[in-house]
Amino acid sequence: MLIDKTDTSHSNDPADVAIDHVANNYEHIILKLSLIPEKWIETYPLLGIFDFSITKHVFLLILVAFITVSSMIFLVQNYISSKTKVPGKTMNFIEMIILYMRENVLKSFIGEKYYKDWDALVYTIFFFVLIGNFLGLIPIFDFLGLINYLAGGIPVVKDLIHGGNTVTANINLNFALATITFGAFTIAGIKRYGFFHHWKNLAPPGLAWPLYFIVVPIEVMAMLIRPISLTLRLAGNMMGGHLALIIFTQLFIIEVAKNYGIFAALGGSIFSVSLSIGVIFLEIIVAFIQAYVFALLTAVYIGMAVNVDH
């Protein structure tokens, strides 16, 4: 990774380089924006909910939101207002995804009767996560880093190039999405069965009463673990791909250059570049699959809350 010459805080330890490529960065905050003094947050970390400082991942989050909203609205409005009613290539692809999800995910898991309340959420999750995943695959920030390096440090860009650019690899964002999913399936269940009956659905009827002492805690745990599993699945997948990429391209070369000289490193780069191209293709597939899985599981959980078969 290209390093700002004026920046002395950077470590040359390969592990740090790799992690810096994936994780958020708290040393280079773009805009400090905290509602309470930082000292309080240091003593009570949970007070961090009042810290709205724009870190790189917050910036990326806003970028993803902006791209998602603007591109979708642009495409859809263009499509709807077109006289021919024929979708373009991108719109056709989006329409295919939406129709596929409606027929195979929403209708089959949530059911004809209730899916219309939740379709917007499932579509939004899919496209939001998808664009987040893809934004991580495009090395815009490495390019900005090159410009910054050549220019010798540009104020805002200097802070932007530190930290990973896959926002969906961040567990905080994923946990927020998973919390929304959790809220969605809880609300769906309450809307369908009423507040008390929804929670009663956790205990399947028809069991001998002592079993409830085992079954109910298991069911509650299974319900609570859902957002955590959603979070870790997405974060792990996105993180893993990028770690593999950085290891194949940069660390491998650094180690070879250190031990065998620059020419060996050049030879090794042929191997590592071809390998990383393969990893990128894999990552494209993973980006799709993970976005789909997140949306699918959201629909499945909502469906489980809405259609309790007793």
């Binding site: 810290d51 400082s53 989050l61 329409e95 579509y123 905080n172 927020a176 929304i180």
Partner: protein, 169 residues
């Protein structure tokens, strides 16, 4: 939680929830609802026009059948009209022919009868004429007065003679 990959960052969490909900609301309002309505409308339009095409096809089929039926009926009718006309013409021709035959037969019969009557009368007249003539002749030749009785006797005998002659002929 020393690992930077798993740093807990409540600020980002709150940011994410706020931004995602905003994205959800905006997209629901300006993208998903209009798009799904549009798709539904288009699907309805397609199925409607397909149904219309189907019904139009059925209508066409019906019209075709009807027209065929009408055509067949017309053909049959024309056939029957022609055969009827022929029959009638035959009938009237036969009738005319028969009438003519009958009339001519009647005419011939009448003529024959008339001829017969005339013949008989003529023969009778001839006979009387012959009788008178022969009477005249005889009286002139004989120059003699014959009594009425004799006269009558003679006439009677000669008439008998003529009648037997006629029967012979």
């Amino acid at each position: 939680m020393d690992n930077p990959l798993f740093t807990i960052d409540p600020g980002l969490f709150i940011w994410s929830i706020i931004i995602f909900l905003l994205v959800l609301l905006i997209l629901k309002r300006y993208a998903w609802t209009p798009l799904l309505n549009f798709i539904d409308e288009r699907e309805k339009e397609i199925s409607d026009s397909l149904a219309m095409a189907e019904s139009a096809k059925a209508d066409l089929e019906q019209v075709r059948e009807e027209s065929e039926k009408i055509l067949n009926e017309a053909k049959n009718q024309s056939k029957s009209i022609v055969s009827d006309g022929k029959q009638r013409a035959d009938q009237s021709a036969n009738k005319i022919l028969n009438d003519a035959k009958q009339k001519s037969d009647e005419f011939v019969l009448d003529a024959k009868k008339k001829i017969d009557v005339e013949k008989k009368r003529a023969i009778k007249e001839i006979k009387e004429e012959v009788v008178d003539l022969s009477l005249d002749l005889a009286s002139q030749v004989l120059q003699r007065n014959v009594k009425d009785e004799d006269n009558n006797k003679f006439v009677q005998s000669s008439l008998k003679e003529i009648n037997t002659d006629e029967a012979k002929s």
